[in-house]
Subunit: 296 residues, 4 copies
Amino acid sequence: MPQTIGFIGLGRLGLPIARNLLAAGHVLKLYNRTAEKARPLTDEGALLVADPAEVAEPGGIVFTVLADDAALETVTLHNAAFAGRLAPGGIHVSVSTISPDTARRIAAEHARHGVHYVAAPVFARPEAAAARKGTICLSGPAEAKARVRPLLAQAVGENLFDFGDDPGAANVVKLAGNFMIGAALESMAEACTLAEKNGVSRDSIMQLFSQTIFACPIYQNYGKMIAAGVYDQSVGFKMPLALKDMGLVLQTATTSRVPMPLAQLLHGRLLSGLAKGRHEWDWIGLAAGASDDAGL
Amino acid sequence: MPQTIGFIGLGRLGLPIARNLLAAGHVLKLYNRTAEKARPLTDEGALLVADPAEVAEPGGIVFTVLADDAALETVTLHNAAFAGRLAPGGIHVSVSTISPDTARRIAAEHARHGVHYVAAPVFARPEAAAARKGTICLSGPAEAKARVRPLLAQAVGENLFDFGDDPGAANVVKLAGNFMIGAALESMAEACTLAEKNGVSRDSIMQLFSQTIFACPIYQNYGKMIAAGVYDQSVGFKMPLALKDMGLVLQTATTSRVPMPLAQLLHGRLLSGLAKGRHEWDWIGLAAGASDDAGL
Amino acid sequence: MPQTIGFIGLGRLGLPIARNLLAAGHVLKLYNRTAEKARPLTDEGALLVADPAEVAEPGGIVFTVLADDAALETVTLHNAAFAGRLAPGGIHVSVSTISPDTARRIAAEHARHGVHYVAAPVFARPEAAAARKGTICLSGPAEAKARVRPLLAQAVGENLFDFGDDPGAANVVKLAGNFMIGAALESMAEACTLAEKNGVSRDSIMQLFSQTIFACPIYQNYGKMIAAGVYDQSVGFKMPLALKDMGLVLQTATTSRVPMPLAQLLHGRLLSGLAKGRHEWDWIGLAAGASDDAGL
Amino acid sequence: MPQTIGFIGLGRLGLPIARNLLAAGHVLKLYNRTAEKARPLTDEGALLVADPAEVAEPGGIVFTVLADDAALETVTLHNAAFAGRLAPGGIHVSVSTISPDTARRIAAEHARHGVHYVAAPVFARPEAAAARKGTICLSGPAEAKARVRPLLAQAVGENLFDFGDDPGAANVVKLAGNFMIGAALESMAEACTLAEKNGVSRDSIMQLFSQTIFACPIYQNYGKMIAAGVYDQSVGFKMPLALKDMGLVLQTATTSRVPMPLAQLLHGRLLSGLAKGRHEWDWIGLAAGASDDAGL
């Protein structure tokens, strides 16, 4: 059933998600800090507004797909009109990868206005989101989740996992997943470097692993790039954002008293990559750290 | 075509491989340090000999499936009769996970007697080997490999990857793979611990990951055990052997000048597990380290 | 020349510093969140006020010795009266270990009111501060530093190192030093554990090292405690505060793009200590991590 | 009392030690693999022999100062004449940094011939050894130690610490010390890098630390080099030897079940240094790793 949906944040991930909603027949009211990025969608009929709060309607639904905690707080917590216009009964669907604590704080603040917060971070490279092949981590109040599920299916895909009521839960899972992806990158990087320096081609070992014990998307897709050792082409998720995410992983780990030495290693790899000027690389390029250390 | 095959080493992995060869109709001449372990196979018709060299026949084929470099060297290098009886034209198929350097040294020594060394370490838990669902890493002289491939298919399965002539190459790949499996264990362990301490069940996150971005055997099979946190049941590969393997990874990394911080982390986890008395645990139990550190 | 000095923060370190100023003949106007902690000093003649801003006088000097960035910001940035009452020409001497960025931010804000910010974090266990044997890291505007140097000598001791104008510089040095102390703790801990498990007493190796190549206070004083393995007696600096400091080290490292794997290790040790319930231990107890891992 | 002393190994450390013995009036019978290195000493009256065993006399004393376990084993264990000529009652004073297990093995083998093994590894840069300012770690049988103590005082200095009977004990201490020195290097390296990238000079922080909380030889001497960031001048102990030593630390740690993450970090730094071609650097250059990672 077509409806009017608010949408804030048209970055690499936000754009294909918004476009999917538009293609499904909904009316989209958009806001993006850099207005010109909305052009492809306004050309297709979406409406552009000048202030983030204007995308909201009483009892409506607003998606946010923003880069970090600070951006989301600016648009929601520090913008009194946002929750005010959504109330009563409105739903804020937050797709951003943020800290569980920020999610809980925004949810509590929204609740004071009668607005529901649904956490819906996704695992999806931009092209996967466009093809509605993302994986959604969901948490929040049951009725609100029920209402947004059909929209999420149209926007990101059918692959949805529900983690209960805690508005922070879905972000815990998302952070855990980003960490695990990073761990797989480092694992492939060290293995490929070991192979390379022992006369076995990087490509040949990734062939074996990605067809057998590690026959799954992360190892198959990223494994090719790590075997090739090229990280500044077809960039889906940049190093600085990955560093931000790994920082959230470690911050959540600190708050909850969980030493994560492997997450620390990944944070160090990304930090070193940025220290070496690799801001425009895809974060898969954390794999270059193992090669650097080996003098390659 | 049934033939007489020598077979040395009836441990957890050797036993099902030997049984598969017997089931395929071959005559097996067995040697095992602890003779009684051969009983199940001699009951099915295999012959047991008293000295490892006696399994060899001129121009024949001998499989070895031994625990470590030292055991393999004892049976081959330090037993002059071994290569002597296999020559000329015999083939030694070495399934053990050993260091690439040891493989090269044995190959060179065999070559002096006209014996071929074929490296064929496998990825297979005992039950997978029994079901001929293992993955074989192969390297060595081309003709020798061609002659043993049908036997390997009968013994371990069809899944075979050839890494060329270097007798050490297949072991480099095997070590890289064991390292990558260990990395996946640590990755799941830290992620599950983070989830658990943030109110999200270990099982629920492994459900998501093992069905989506990590939908592959290692994460699916081991993920269940790590979610359950039980490591001393259905033990397929014990901690002390895993420590030995991770030691080989780091030794090979040192020799070839490849810093591997993640491999070091895994070695430390296994070492700590043994310091805590977990000798009888499956090596998946390295995942307990993250829980220990988090006070769980 | 006796003068009236404002003083905020009477924790483990603040108390002996305030007492030294009082003993030097100055009039002290105190504020502490928990008023009763001021009793020993009011008994000796110090004045207690009800609001932090009240310790300040126009053109006067205020010392703050607070636990963390947040506490300092609350008292200064979020309390408009603070800088207002100090202006014009007043000096805020900040002894707290805080992040360089927070120091710079407060300094800039103070400057808008004509107030000078002098960073003066110190290396001193409480008993060393009492004995005026601390080491002071100093940075800030030259004239302000010149004015407070005699007071710092009376309050903490003569051992003073000047790091120039940048209000953040002294805190960079302080954080670097705390990191180095932590590194020495971990170093002694691993060495003692290695000795102990090889039949050499912890005490005997610390005897050697603290008399020869490491004959300096950190190894001598802390080495005795690590040799003894007792960390909950004579607590000078607690684990939670140390975790806070190591968090500042890593935050500063992240901001300035400096991978610090050893600092990460120390952060993990402290975090694990807290996860195991060691909140009341001295931070030297991070040394227990090596023993835990070794099953001792 | 002047006596005839056997001496094997005239490397960077062996040479000044041998010269000190010669200067003390003893007759020296030398062996060195590269005979020309003995020239400075034969010019001063020492005798050069062609086979290591020839330095030994029945009941006499032989010093060995060799590069690694293998070199020492070659000269002693694999040279039957060595213990044979020293027996009965001879003493082998082993100054080399070797593994405790090798020390124990050689001691046991010597004992079968009635020869005593005294472990006497030293902490001394070549110039410190020349000035008899080294520190000696001693262990072995009491009477043998009593007999060699005066010689050690003449050869290396008065600073001697006795660790009992176990022939491996002194080497445990020596390895622990080398590890602690390496830890201090890494600590200074990360601290200096943090300072440098935050606008504080490396030299200024090392000034503070080496005069206060870390006022001891390691931080003072090595701190200057790390502040300067120059590692290929005045080389006292080269990277490959340091990697060997750190390998012995980790091997001993593995055997005795002691996880040592900081030792692993140091091993990785040295390994990376060699991977980058720094074979001729002093091992203090492991400090360059932190700078490399930070893009400096």
